[in-house]
């Protein structure tokens, strides 16, 4: 699954729109990834305009 760097993330939600698994949600504290849904395709990571996303182990 993925994790966002809260210091870099601009909370624009664009990653939520490109995730084919609907695994991401923008919450008050930042982007939340549902590890059950995420299939590690890296699309969001490639897309994020500011490079705030990285892959992490579940």
């Amino acid at each position: 699954m993925i994790e966002t760097d809260k210091k870099k993330c601009l909370r624009c939600s664009a990653c939520v729109g490109v995730c084919p698994q609907s695994a991401l949600t923008l919450r008050e504290h930042g982007i939340e990834c549902d590890g059950e849904k995420c299939n590690n395709c890296r699309i969001c990571l490639n897309f994020c305009p500011v490079g705030a996303i990285r892959m992490v182990e579940k």
């Binding site: 624009c12 609907s22 305009p49």
Partner: protein
């Protein structure tokens, strides 16, 4: 807050799409609730704040000094080699640069003025369903979850739309159909305060462009949209490099940082299901060439609001009845935007050398007439002059 347990129509998201839908439905006498998850409608902006006169005309709203920062009288388009062409509109301004957060609030205010109930910092957490059909929403407000019923739900939840997916409509955007955008609002920069500037090139902004949209004498939104697979780096890295390479920009100060995704394709043939309609960015209703979507969202929203009211009056909330919205939207906007998707596809296969050639060639043309012509026939004819581009030109005819 006197939120009732039931409304005719609940609209999710108070961007231009949601406010347009709420306004149109309220105008038809519907009981409408417009829910926005952010604490301030319109902020932070995800926008370069440009609105053309033609888009404003389609929206059917009057200009208001509250939200206009700058009148734009022309555009300068730069080829990768730095050569440029100017488009000058001699008969009045061609568009405006807005203060988007004021604009979005004013649109929501218009909807509220007609009787819609608007509520900020109220996030829809899921759809309510009965026999598999949408019948309302669960909303989180002041730390509490509440269920509110509605006959029709309009999803105007922007590029991050999840509501439509929950109702079974796949709104996921393919990477090629969404630009990755980053922007700095900068002050104390040397810019042309009366014209927008656009810079093209496969090193400058692969699959997109850099824009400078002036908000005043020395303040502007300086941003970029790029697309995968063309872009090898992050949008913000290309943008930083662009600014660093220009002394008149490099010396400036950053007063706001923005990012976002801009739909530039993936128009949806079907945007409805039983009891639910999708509008605006959520339905990918944005201009595939320049990414402008405020006007499109408002227009899509208004059509949806009117259709929803009609459906409720006819007591038929079925997918079939609501499908009239698909038809109306495609007639009014979709067919035009679909043509622009084609143009985008042709333009993205231009090499830098092609772009340089094109800008050089277009110098001798009457660009205003060119920009206002409706078909691509004239453009295709120009491309035909370069043997390498003939194949591409044919795609436009």
């Amino acid at each position: 807050m006197n939120i009732e347990r039931e409304y005719d129509i609940i609209v999710i998201g108070a961007g231009p799409g949601g406010s347009g839908a709420a306004l149109a439905a309220a105008k038809k006498g519907m009981k409408v609730l417009l829910l926005e998850k952010r604490q301030e409608i319109g902020a932070p902006k995800r926008c370069a704040e440009g609105l053309s006169m033609s888009a404003m005309g389609r929206m059917g709203i009057e200009r208001d000094d509250l939200w206009i920062r700058r009148e734009i009288i022309g555009a300068t388009i730069y080829a990768p080699n730095g050569e440029h062409i100017g488009v000058d509109y001699k008969d009045g301004p061609e568009g405006y640069i807005l203060e988007r957060k004021v604009f979005d609030k004013c649109l929501a205010e218009k909807a509220a003025g007609l009787g819609a109930k608007v509520l900020a910092k109220a996030e829809v957490t899921r759809l309510l369903k009965e026999d598999g059909k949408v019948c309302g929403v669960e909303v989180e407000f002041e730390g509490e979850k509440k269920e509110i019923k509605a006959k029709i739900v309009i999803a105007a939840d922007g590029v991050e739309s999840k509501i439509a997916r929950e109702a079974g409509l796949d709104t996921t955007l393919k990477l090629v159909d969404i630009a990755s955008g980053a922007q700095f609002e900068m002050t104390n920069v040397d810019i042309d305060p009366d014209r927008i500037e656009m810079y093209f090139g496969n090193d400058i902004a692969p699959g997109g462009y850099v824009w400078i949209f002036p908000k005043g004498e020395n303040i502007a939104n300086i941003g970029i949209g790029v697309r995968k697979p063309y872009a090898k780096e992050k949008a913000i890295d290309y943008l930083k490099r662009f600014i660093e390479s220009r002394s008149g920009l490099k010396k400036g100060s950053i007063i706001e940082v923005n990012s976002g995704g801009v739909p530039v394709g993936g128009l949806m043939e079907n945007m409805v299901t039983d009891n639910l309609i999708v509008v605006g960015d959520a339905a990918h209703q944005a201009n595939p060439i320049h990414g402008g979507g405020m006007g499109e969202a408002w227009v899509g929203g208004r059509i949806a609001g009117e259709m929803a009211a009609e459906a409720i009056k006819a007591n038929d909330l079925s997918k079939k009845f609501l499908g009239k919205y698909n038809k109306l939207w495609w007639e009014k906007r979709g067919n035009k935007l679909q043509k622009l998707v084609k143009l985008r596809e042709v333009m993205e296969s231009f090499s830098d050398e092609d772009l340089n050639w094109l800008v050089d060639y277009l110098k001798g043309e009457d660009l205003i007439e060119f920009a206002r012509s409706s078909g691509f026939g004239k453009f295709a004819k120009i491309l035909m002059k370069k043997p390498k581009l003939i194949k591409l030109a044919r795609k436009l005819l």
